[in-house]
Amino acid sequence: MSEQAIKPRIEKIPLSEQVFRKLPIFLVPLLALAGLIAIGNPASWLTLTVAGLAMGMMVFIMASGLTVVFGLMDVINFGHGAFVTVGAFVGFTVLAWVAGWTASPSVLLNLAAVLVAILAAMLVTGLLGYAFERVIVMPVYGDHLKQILVTMGGLIVAQQMIHVVWGPDEMHLSRPEALQGSVVLGEAAIEKYRLVAVGIGLALFLAMRHVLKKTKIGLLVRAGVENGEMVEALGYRIRRLFLLVFMTGSALAGLGGVMWGLYQETITAHMGSDIMVLVFIVVIIGGLGSVEGCFIGALLVGLLANYTAFLAPKVALISTIALMVAILMWRPQGLYPVVKAK
């Protein structure tokens, strides 16, 4: 085939559309700037901004698995909160086992305790995700109504099992010595744990981006989100990919559970279902199936919740819902709509 016969060209995307696509990236700095103007005091603003980013990162960790599961598998998993709760309780148990490490003045031992708790929580919730996908989700692929009903049922069963294993009372989860207290930057006091949460959330986001953009498994996930049938026609067993993604999403929810538990310092059997409202809002704001959208959405929710709680506590109660309504009026399919084959 000759070059002359075809005259390769590429359809140029209009500048206005290019700008429109990139706009969501600027939302977080714009909101932070608006917060600075509204709050006035830079020290208070810095404290609130770090708190908002930390909250956003933790919500992102919990929401990222859910959004990829929805995008790839078209599964609405109302049971996702169960993994958050189980993760928090497993983390609690492990931290109790290594109480000597958490009480130690050694920063390394403190961090090792948190790391072991996180790994154990991710392992348990990943395996639980395997069982959940095989037993509860697999029979209802393609049927959203049944998915909602059975995953809700799974969540209730998980909560009751937590009552059986750990009892019905709320538990106190204390942070290791090194993660207690604040660091002072100028006049701003910033909790150490929030800085750690921001670091872990950012590292996870970058790792997820790397996997999705640079590895074959990531390409398969992105391709599967768009056209799972074609992925199968190329020769890949997409059901195995579903299982892997579901387990990973569950493990991430477990990680989020440990982090949220350490953030709140209290865990209950219904903490997962409580946080799921926020998680679903973030997933919807971001665009169902979009990791980047989920990340930006989580940061917006975290920052807005903290700014409004400081400026107008009553408004804070509706701030996240108002944000979702505003975003959906602007972009009905979320910040980064995911392309789906017909």
Binding site: M1, A5, I6, L219, A233, A341
Partner: protein, 242 residues
């Protein structure tokens, strides 16, 4: 021409929901060359290809590929036995770059450099827009990418569903040239095509479908030279399209 069947369908029925689409399809695709599946819209051509790929399961009948029954196998198993599929909607992953689309198509490992060079020669836009998102390609370029994906690894059979649909005449000609070159490499092609001029220019054997059944099969040369038969089978004649 060899008459060994590479693919054969015997009495294949396919139901989609309440609809009985394929109603006993008997089709033989000889090894080597191009077999063209013709028929009006709704005759069941696309359903036949999708049933062969296992994307829709046959409710009755048998499909044999290289002497092995593939009826009831999952789509990835069928694909890994050496059948590639170029769907009517091209199935391009628009969020991925051209390179990423090709990487995924190379199921068995990294792409063979020589074969990739041949494909880039066959379809120059693949090389030109290697790093571009596939969603920004034109319709013709997407079709080339779709065919390129199907041939990045050697396949025994390629199922192609209406590759010239909606394309400009220059692109159609380029596609015919590419398929002719592919045919020269002894790749077997089962081609669904409405453009009879295109089909007759590269087809070796032909099967005509109507109402979910094969109503005629034979050599393309015979059909192309018999206007009365064309009129009878499809209500058209090659002369009317030239």
């Amino acid at each position: 021409m060899t008459v060994n069947p590479l693919l054969s369908l015997q009495g294949v029925h396919t139901h989609i929901g309440p609809y009985h689409i394929l109603q006993g399809v008997d089709l033989t695709v000889p090894e080597g060359g191009v077999t063209v599946l013709l028929g009006r819209n709704g005759a069941g051509k696309t359903t036949t290809l999708r049933t062969i790929m296992g994307l829709w399961q046959a409710s009755k009948g048998e499909i044999h590929f290289h002497d092995h029954m593939i009826t009831g196998l999952a789509t990835p198993e069928i694909s890994r036995r050496g059948i590639a599929f170029v769907p009517e909607d091209m199935g391009i992953f628009t969020d991925l770059t051209v390179e990423e689309n090709m990487i995924l198509a190379a199921v068995n490992g990294p792409m063979d450099a020589k074969r990739l060079a041949w494909i880039k020669d066959l379809f120059p836009p693949i090389g030109t827009f290697w790093a571009s998102p596939a969603g920004t390609l034109s319709g013709g370029q997407k079709q080339m990418l779709s065919v390129a994906r199907a041939i990045i690894e050697p396949r025994r059979l390629i199922l192609i569903d209406e590759p010239t649909k909606g394309l400009a005449p220059a692109i159609v000609k380029a596609m015919i040239d590419a398929l002719a070159e592919l045919k020269a490499t002894d790749t077997t092609i089962l081609l669904v095509e409405q453009n009879f001029a295109m089909a007759s220019s590269i087809g070796d054997t032909v099967a005509v479908m109507d109402d979910g059944r094969i109503i005629h099969s034979g050599s393309m040369q015979e059909l192309a030279g018999d206007s009365a038969l064309q009129e009878k089978l499809m209500g058209l004649s090659l002369e009317a399209h030239q």
